[in-house]
């Protein structure tokens, strides 16, 4: 009996507590009238009682808080502070945890950060949740700037209803970065057009890989270089899972590259992967007996086939920055060519938090980063080759040669690649479905499953992850 009383007392007190918590929530919402209802900001974001004029820079403290994924924006912020009397605070958060952090902060009605960003695959959820301010409304009127930015970037920043919510300062189409000297030796040419033909489709890539291996090189450092070219088709169309022919061809290529020992098996973004940009890396095979602990022996073994050089890296336009820091001695020997499909990856899309109380400053900063030609010029110089999304700047720099790439005109190349992109293929499902697909590929290449079983397993996994999708098995 007594226990029962205590239980009920405890329950009542917990319930009370939850009520108090709810009550509090309401109170704070009431108190912040110019704040959106945090639970359904997307429906109210466009309400006129919440125009930026009301709430913009209500704090007036000359501050701006940015949460970003890459350190780039930190540099933009520093630059911005030079010419503006605003104190910008930049927080860099690793991508794996970024959505969680933004989600928790904005759901709770935090008024900071003012500037939030997202990579393309994060944006759909962010837009649905109403985290990003509608930039088409006054005073932003972003639609007026539409023709100043590369098309696909503009589209990525739009939500399902075509409302502009984020803009990126960079374009990120992908290409293959290859070694001109190796190309000359093996294929007798180093011309990007010609080399592009060696990558024109998946079966050709396999042939290219074999040719390179015969000459003692490896086509790629890692298994992941093809990720950005895994098929420029949508995984989900009208709520239906779609596996295109390209996906299968890609699968076959990955399996063959592995089975025939054609890459150097470094993990992408690992130290050996970076090392391979600047010269030989050890490939330790069954018959190599080199003592890698002994530096002199290691060096003399370089000719013995115990080490190899890597022909190409598949990277987006921002790979220029990665290469910049890592090519070392091989600088000048690189070229960039197109891949088997158009592809792109990443890109920091900047938007304004719908909860921000410093929206005017935030918009000014956003314009500064994306729509200002001076900034674009500065960034191109500062980053030594990142590719901006502002068309006028790209036009202006189209004849700039990049020394790492033997003076190749990269900006016009990237613009061309970007123009070929079909952005509509990106969906929120991509990460999970892509993981399931690469699980299937791993299963096949390690002979754990037959191709049929692996693909059946893929369908099962997608079905379990997204019951709402229609799945028609073949």
């Amino acid at each position: 009996m007594k226990l029962k009383k205590v239980v009920s007392a405890l329950l009542v007190s917990t319930m009370l507590l939850s009520c108090v918590a709810c009550g509090n929530n309401k109170n704070t919402d009431d108190a912040n009238k110019d704040n959106n209802d945090t639970k359904t900001p997307n429906t109210e974001a466009a309400d006129d009682n919440n125009t930026p004029d009301d709430s913009a820079d209500a704090t007036g403290d000359g501050k701006l808080v940015i949460w970003t994924l890459a350190a780039d924006l930190e540099q933009f912020a520093e630059k911005y502070m030079e010419s503006h009397d605003v104190e910008v605070e930049t927080v860099v958060i690793e991508p794996a945890n970024y959505p969680t952090k933004v989600q928790t902060a904005l759901n709770g009605g935090q008024t900071e950060p003012d500037i939030i960003v997202g990579e393309p695959q994060m944006l759909e959820d962010f837009f649905d949740a109403g985290y990003f301010e509608d930039l088409n409304q006054a005073p932003y009127n972003a639609q007026d700037y539409a023709d100043q930015i590369v098309d696909y970037v503009w589209e990525v920043g739009q939500d399902a209803d075509g409302i502009q919510r984020a803009i990126s300062y960079q374009i990120t189409p992908a290409g293959f970065y290859y070694r001109r000297d190796i190309a000359q030796e093996v294929f007798g040419t180093e011309d990007p057009e010609e080399i592009g033909k060696l990558f024109k489709d998946y079966p050709t890539i396999l042939e290219t890989a074999k040719t390179l291996k015969d000459k003692g090189y490896r086509i790629f450092a890692s298994d992941g270089e093809l990720n950005f070219f895994s098929g420029n088709t949508a995984w989900v169309v009208d709520n239906k899972l779609t596996v295109s022919e390209q996906r299968y061809a890609y699968m076959d290529l990955c399996v063959e590259l592995y089975k025939q020992d054609l890459t150097a098996y470094a993990a992408q973004w690992s130290t050996p992967w970076y090392q391979a940009m600047s010269g030989p890396v050890p490939v330790l095979t069954a018959d190599s007996d080199v003592n890698v602990w002994d530096a002199t022996e290691f060096a003399s073994a370089t000719e013995g086939g115990a080490t190899t050089e890597i022909f190409a890296y598949g990277l987006p336009a921002w790979g220029v920055l990665t290469m910049r820091d890592n090519v070392g001695e091989t600088s000048g020997k690189w070229g960039v060519c197109a891949g088997p499909t158009y592809g792109f990856s990443g890109g920091t899309y900047i938007g304004i938090s719908s909860n921000s109380e410093r929206k005017d400053t935030a918009w000014d900063f956003l314009k500064f980063c994306t729509l200002n030609e001076e900034t674009a010029d500065w960034w191109i110089e500062k980053s030594e080759g990142d590719t901006v999304s502002l068309l006028s700047a790209l036009e202006k720099h189209k004849d700039d040669g990049n020394e790492v790439y033997g003076g190749q005109h990269l900006y016009s190349f990237w613009l061309e690649q970007a123009e070929g992109l079909d952005y509509s293929v990106v969906t929120r499902y991509d990460t999970a479905i892509g993981n399931a697909w690469s699980n299937a590929i791993t299963a096949i290449k390690t002979d754990e499953k037959s191709k049929e079983d692996a693909i059946a397993g893929f369908y099962d996994e997608v079905e379990a992850t997204y019951p709402e999708l229609t799945i028609e098995r073949e």
Binding site: G224, Y265, L284, A286, D289, T446
Partner: protein
């Protein structure tokens, strides 16, 4: 006399009321920071909550989905497998060490220093351990393979974290490396609790080492062994950090290669934070909790019988 007794009783009651004051801070903080979040998750597990917007009530749908989700059960199976091998290695090693240090014939010295060193791996944050082993065990470039090949132990590199038949056990063994020191200390304490008189008496009676071991050590250690096994199962079912950080190539919840490293809590995390199906993730969390609860109840029943 009677009056006096009444006095003591009321005094006692007064005294016991002080206890409320003692536990008050604990209870208040506990209700706010532990109970409330957990109850909120319980509520969410009955909804279609996506991390934003209003939760829509679904009743038991999420739970039905968990029970029929073969990938959840695969993840659960993975967890048991990783845990199983882990506990065998971990306890086995701890057990051997315990026998060695309690052996009355050899009288090994240096217990405190060995014990302290063996415990060291427990101290490093999981992130550092994972980073370290991932680098050391890298397929083509890791130091472990370099060492094995130079020593002629193997002629090809072993794909420690990329082979579906090896990777789960690698995680088990890294786990065992991290935690065996802890088990050793627990078991050692148990043995030190057994009076050496038993052993000496047995030795005088002419019992050999193995007889002593099976007739004295094992029976007396049984409750501790059971306790360690089962508490480790509770911990093991929550296994997350190590496989999350060590599965490749970039970590995450996919549990590569081919999902064999995806544990139950990683599966939960996939839905809670990666695909934003918070409601479903909450239902997974509670399903796991119920399983752990059942295991614990069995544990308490079992141990209760022992006494």
């Amino acid at each position: 006399m009677a009056k006096n007794q009444v006095m003591t009783k009321s005094k006692q009651r007064n005294r016991n009321n002080v206890a409320y004051l003692f536990v008050l801070p604990f209870v208040v903080v506990f209700l706010i920071f532990s109970v409330y979040p957990v109850l909120r998750t319980l509520y969410l597990s009955f909804t279609s909550y996506k991390g934003f917007g209003d939760p829509v009530w679904l009743g038991l749908d999420n739970y039905k989905r968990v029970l029929t989700d073969k990938f959840f059960w695969r993840a659960f199976g993975n967890t048991l497998k990783i845990w199983g091998v882990n506990i065998i290695v971990q306890l086995g090693l701890a057990f051997l060490l315990t026998i060695l240090f309690s052996d009355i014939k050899y009288k090994m010295r240096g217990l405190p220093i060995f014990r302290a060193i063996y415990y060291l791996p427990n101290l490093i944050a999981c992130t550092s351990v994972a980073f370290l082993f991932k680098t050391l065990l890298d397929w083509k470039y890791g130091s472990v393979n370099q060492m094995l090949i130079s020593a002629g132990i193997t002629s090809t590199q072993i794909n420690w974290l990329g082979d579906v038949n090896i990777a789960p056990y690698v995680i088990s063994i890294v786990g065992a490396w991290m935690w065996f020191g802890n088990s050793f200390i627990v078991l050692m304490a148990g043995v030190q609790g057994i009076s050496t008189d038993y052993f000496e008496a047995a030795a005088i009676d002419g019992c050999g080492r193995w007889t002593r071991f099976f007739k004295i050590t094992i029976p007396l250690l049984k409750p501790i062994l059971l306790y360690t096994c089962i508490t480790s199962l509770i911990g093991g079912l929550q296994l997350f950090d190590l496989p999350y950080l060590m599965n490749g190539p970039q970590g995450g919840t996919a549990g590569q290669p081919n999902g064999v490293l995806q544990t139950a809590v990683m599966y939960l995390y996939k839905f809670g934070f990666e695909t934003r199906q918070t409601g479903y993730a909450s239902a997974i969390a509670y399903t796991l909790f119920i399983i752990i609860l059942i295991v614990s109840i069995i544990q308490f029943k079992w141990l209760g019988k022992e006494d």
